[in-house]
């Protein structure tokens, strides 16, 4: 996993609730190996019209968000299918953070395992951030993982929560499996209790 400490970027606003992982990454790309650039498939059917042309009104197609590394979303982002490919698509398209009031539980866990930082903020903070992007889409936002803060000018600041272990994994670029493998004695002891 790539290390993550702080990040400054514009936010790409996705003004819709219940964005499901079928929209983020259509099922027909689930058969592609991970070596593919899944960023090409991100919101594939939402960003194109019936004839295959890019829809100018969809935010992902707009020039001011080309370098956006932060997605700003609404309630229940990433609901539905457990496909981890949805996280890969967002990550491969260059995003490193998704901010939303709530996430689909499986998506949230998948994101943490792939270096995509999911940040839950209160609904009112998310509304404030939507207003900020509306006023000035070029307005940068700072994510500081060390202090667990989202900062935006002029005076926006919101703290977010993250498990200390997940935080360490992001800061140091570690993954969970290596750590769990070091716990095998505990797992074996648990299994012995099961069979006794």
């Amino acid at each position: 996993m790539e290390k993550f400490k702080t990040l400054q970027s514009v936010m790409m606003p996705l003004d819709k609730v219940n964005i499901d992982t079928d929209q983020i990454l259509p099922a027909r790309y689930l058969q592609k190996p991970r070596a593919n650039n899944f960023g090409e498939y991100l919101f594939k059917d939402v960003r194109h019209d019936g004839s295959g042309s890019l829809k100018p009104e969809f935010v992902l197609n707009q020039a001011q968000y080309v370098n956006a590394k932060i997605m700003l979303a609404k309630d229940n982002f990433g609901c539905g299918s457990s496909r981890e490919h949805a996280v890969w698509a967002i990550y491969d398209a260059g995003f490193r953070v998704v901010i939303a009031p709530s996430f689909g539980d499986i998506f949230f866990n998948n994101a943490l395992k792939n270096g995509l930082l999911p940040i839950r903020l209160s609904s009112s903070d998310v509304v404030t951030l939507f207003n900020l992007t509306q006023q000035n889409s070029a307005s940068p936002v700072v994510i500081d993982l060390t202090s667990q803060n989202v900062l935006a000018s002029p005076d926006f600041s919101a703290a977010f929560k993250i498990d200390s272990f997940s935080k360490q994994c992001f800061l140091e670029g570690l993954d969970e499996l290596g750590y769990t493998l070091s716990l095998l004695p505990q797992i074996e002891a648990f299994e012995e209790k099961l069979t006794s």
Binding site: V17, L30, E176, E191
Partner: protein
């Protein structure tokens, strides 16, 4: 004694299962949970690839179980007939990975093959008190047996294969209590659609749902599976129902269920699996069965659901500008007009099947409607049994002939048109009455339009060519 138990000791069914599966707790509160049963399907190639990269083996192959369901054809039973090399590779990879990891596996030519969430209960692999996971969001199905069952992503699948454990934060609990008797033509599918309509697609995010009450107790095991299956569509981490005599009756003598002395021990253990009367849930929702009608979705989220007697909503009635716009966009995609009666919506396709509604009772209820009727002109109607055993049972009962005589296609088991990964898709711009679980944009194929409903309602739509109140036909 129950009576002397203090409130502090009272536990929910979920908490009882949770606390017996904690291997260790991290300082930040996350728990390493032991997995009793790990189900695997043919979307698992990325997870096995992660293991191969780290040269890891499956730690306890006997606790895993695999079968292909997502990428397999529903006409014929031969992987070599899959034209698309990537699809064929997905199905083949599962076979190869299960073989090299010594994981029990039902291949395509095994008559017991089927959708993983249909065959695990058939085989007695899903049991009360288990912690069960699968790299598929409809894993909550197995909660019908009083198991804690939830979907995980590919990295977590690899983690479970390598360690037999998964990290979890303890979720909150939500009790959905339903009392009363269901009306004529109202099914388990209508119950869960009504629940999602009431609490919303995010209503249970972060929660494990326990379904309780007279209505739930009166459901058969298959109906309970339908309800638990769609817990994820309400945002639930899992859904579960306390085991009872019906659960035990189902499991007795199933191939993978405990037998002999172990059966007696299991019964004793399972008898304690219920929420204590004083147990406290984080949230409680109460519903009445009599208030539930045959339901049908009109939009692109399962929460966009109404009784079949309803009409397409007016965007102007929405409470906010954002919501109004969302409804307008949805109606544009679905090609619906505000105020249009739901029963006036003409359909092109019918799909009866999936892990939600691909079991024998589902096929019986659809066949009862299709019998002595015919699929409407211009409608393509499919029945895809959830498993080889469901298909065989249906054929023994003559249901296949009922469907075939009525003009339905009778196909081989698999996930099929629920998500179309095997190529079984609804063409762009066409409308499908479907017994599956998701009506998302493009779910059944790019540009497809899905209306979710019960098997009886889907059969009714097939024979009339439009969304139909099944109560008019039975």
């Amino acid at each position: 004694m129950q009576l002397t138990q203090s409130k502090a000791q009272s536990l929910t069914l979920f908490e009882k299962i949770w606390q017996t599966h904690v291997v260790m707790q991290r300082d930040d509160g996350a728990c390493l949970m032991y997995v009793d049963r790990h189900l695997i399907q043919d979307g698992s190639a990325p997870a096995f690839e992660m293991l191969h990269q780290r040269q890891l083996k499956t730690r306890v192959p006997s606790k895993a179980f695999g079968t292909p369901d997502h990428y397999i054809p529903t006409l014929g039973r031969d992987l070599r007939t899959i034209q698309d090399p990537e699809k064929r590779a997905m199905a083949q990879a599962l076979e190869d990975d299960c073989e090299s990891h010594e994981i029990p596996f039902f291949g395509l030519q095994d008559p017991r093959q089927g959708i993983i969430h249909v065959i695990a209960p058939e085989q007695g692999l899903s049991q009360p008190g288990q912690l069960l996971v699968c790299g598929d969001s409809h894993t909550a199905t197995h909660g019908a047996f009083g198991a804690l069952a939830f979907g995980i992503g590919a990295s977590e699948v690899a983690h479970v294969l390598a360690t037999q454990t998964v990290w979890q934060r303890k979720p909150l609990t939500l009790r959905i209590n339903i009392e009363g008797k269901l009306g004529k033509g109202v099914s388990a599918k209508d119950i869960i659609l009504a629940i999602i309509g009431k609490i919303g697609a995010a209503g249970a995010v972060g929660h494990v749902i326990e379904y309780t009450g007279e209505t739930v107790r009166n459901l058969s095991m298959q109906e309970r599976m339908t309800v638990c299956n769609m817990s994820i569509e309400a945002g639930g981490r899992a859904g579960m129902i306390a085991p009872d005599a019906k659960t035990i009756e189902w499991l007795k003598d199933k191939p993978y269920a405990p037998a002999g002395l172990e059966w007696d021990l299991a019964l004793k253990k399972w008898s304690g699996l219920f929420s204590d009367p004083e147990a406290v849930f984080d949230k409680v929702v109460e519903m009445r069965a009599e208030a539930i009608s045959p339901m049908v979705t009109w939009g692109n989220s399962p929460e966009d659901v109404l009784p079949i007697t309803g009409a397409v909503p007016f965007p102007a009635d929405a409470l906010s500008t954002g919501k109004r716009q969302a409804i307008e966009n949805t109606q544009l995609y679905m090609n619906l007009t505000p105020g249009q009666k739901l029963t006036e919506i003409a359909i092109d396709h019918v799909f009866i099947g999936s892990c939600t509604n691909g079991r024998i009772e589902d096929l019986r209820s659809a066949a009862a409607v299709a019998k002595n009727r015919h699929v409407a002109k211009g409608v393509q109607a499919w029945v895809v049994a959830g498993s080889g055993l469901v298909k065989r049972q249906a054929e023994q009962e003559g249901l296949d002939q009922v469907f075939i005589n009525a003009g339905f296609q009778w196909r081989e088991p698999g996930c099929s048109m629920c998500l179309g990964t095997n190529g079984d898709q609804v063409p762009a711009g066409q409308r499908c009455a479907s017994t599956s679980n998701r009506n998302f944009v493009g779910r059944q194929g790019p540009g497809s339009r899905t209306h979710l409903m019960s098997p009886a309602m889907a059969a009714a739509a097939a024979v009339t060519g439009r969304l139909t109140d099944v109560r008019d036909l039975i």
